[in-house]
Symmetry: C2
């Protein structure tokens, strides 16, 4: 079935809400954290990951949608007839938070007309602990709980609140980030990168930096379009456009910034070598 | 009026809920962030800080309680008749989050029979964004939303989720923490230290580390008793008992750990010199 962009957005919002109502009853239970397999991205798949993924796949099938699903858990699979449309799924981003009961984890689904992150046209990110939803489609702006959002205009690092993920980062990268740690007003790391990029999109924080090179493209595909539609930038740490094919094994490094000035300030401050 | 420990706990819970209902209407508004003065701790006082503080002070006065109030905003003040009881207030911990709309900030009130943090007998910490409440009194256990809580038994750093605040830390301290950054499963920093220590108390995270030496004792007095009653430890980074007089200018460095093993692991892993 051919789906227009507007149909996709409705599908994404409805499906993410269905994920929410499905996982809610098992949140915080031992059941949620039971390991049920290993994902295409290399991590263990817990019951809560699988449950959320099944909701999304079943939702695609029940609507007779033809597409290529790209998922951290299930890998790449064709659904329906031949199609160039990629549906990029991170069924649960922030699984550790979800299992621990820390109220910051989400489901993220992006839709792309091609196989590159640049082609992502629509995305939804829903915080599964409180139901807060972020969504966007190309050219139509970004929204948080049905309210139009835009990134902050904050231009100075001294006033900025910046999220950084450097768990498991190499020593050299941490050292390269240190001038940033010193300069910014406050650092944050909440533990679900897709949602943290949406925090940049909505102006709650001013940038989110992950230069480890270990985050999967599936984690950020949906947030990519939400941030761009909110007026933000997401670039590689060397200043180039972020680009990646949409495969569950693809890893990315990026700076997600609320505006060009803060991006430039971050780039000037960190020192990641060549 | 002489207050028993049990009376104090009721007072703390009721007063923190009153703070919640009072600040709720202005959350996220420009009004909340308006600077209305400078606190005894040295930071600017915003309208939301002041509003929360006024609720607590008025609550003490209206109950005819005699005590010494120790507050980040208002400094030290005697209320009612002569008393050794100290009421230690951080009216809003996580003001930046509160102003930005990031749903992680709290009010924290501790009650102490003397002027040292070791004397703190009862405490309450209430997350003002979602109403989640943590409280404890000495010898009676710690609670989250009326459910008894205890710290996690997790003993290995490789499995641990650890909160670290190193905003504005000296370069040497960040370097000393780097082996910890590398070793733990996940790092977190949510931005309200009183609440983050309660996350340790309730087993959501396994430790919280702040070795900057810039956090005020008023920020952690309430959480101190909640963590201890939940079975956790809070010690100086050199292994000594945490101690500090209860004054708004006093600064502390500490490791709040869920159990002695994880505390020892952290201590072995970090290198803060002498």
């Amino acid at each position: 079935m051919p789906y227009g962009l507007n149909d996709w957005l409705k599908f994404l919002v409805n499906t993410s809400r269905e994920v929410h109502s499905t996982v809610k009853p098992i949140l915080g239970s031992a059941l949620a954290s039971e390991v049920v397999g290993k994902g295409a991205g290399g991590d263990f798949t817990t019951r809560i990951d699988k449950l959320a993924e099944d909701v999304i796949i079943n939702s695609l099938k029940s609507q007779n949608i033809s597409c290529i699903v790209v998922s951290e858990e299930g890998g790449i699979m064709e659904i329906g007839g031949k199609s160039d449309v990629h549906v990029v799924i991170d069924s649960i981003d922030g699984t550790t938070n979800a299992i621990r009961g820390i109220p910051f984890f989400c489901t993220a689904i992006g839709v792309s007309k091609g196989n590159s992150i640049k082609d992502v046209d629509a995305g939804v990110v829903l915080n599964l602990s409180d139901g807060m939803i972020f969504y966007a489609e190309k050219g139509k702006g970004a929204y948080m709980n049905d309210k139009r959002i835009k990134t902050s205009g904050r231009a100075s690092l001294e006033d900025a609140v910046i999220g950084v993920d450097f768990s498991k980062a190499e020593k050299e990268k941490i050292i390269g980030l240190m001038p940033l740690f010193k300069k910014v007003r406050h650092l944050r790391h909440f533990g679900a990168n897709a949602l943290e990029i949406c925090y940049v999109a909505s102006g709650l924080i001013d940038a989110f930096v992950d230069v480890r090179g270990i985050l999967r493209v599936t984690d950020i595909a949906a947030s990519y379009v939400i941030l761009k539609e909110a007026g933000g930038k997401i670039l590689k740490p060397n200043g180039e456009e972020l680009d990646s094919i949409l495969e569950p094994t693809q890893r990315v490094s990026f700076i997600a910034a609320s505006n060009p000035t803060i991006y430039d300030e971050i780039l000037k401050t960190i020192n990641l070598g060549k």
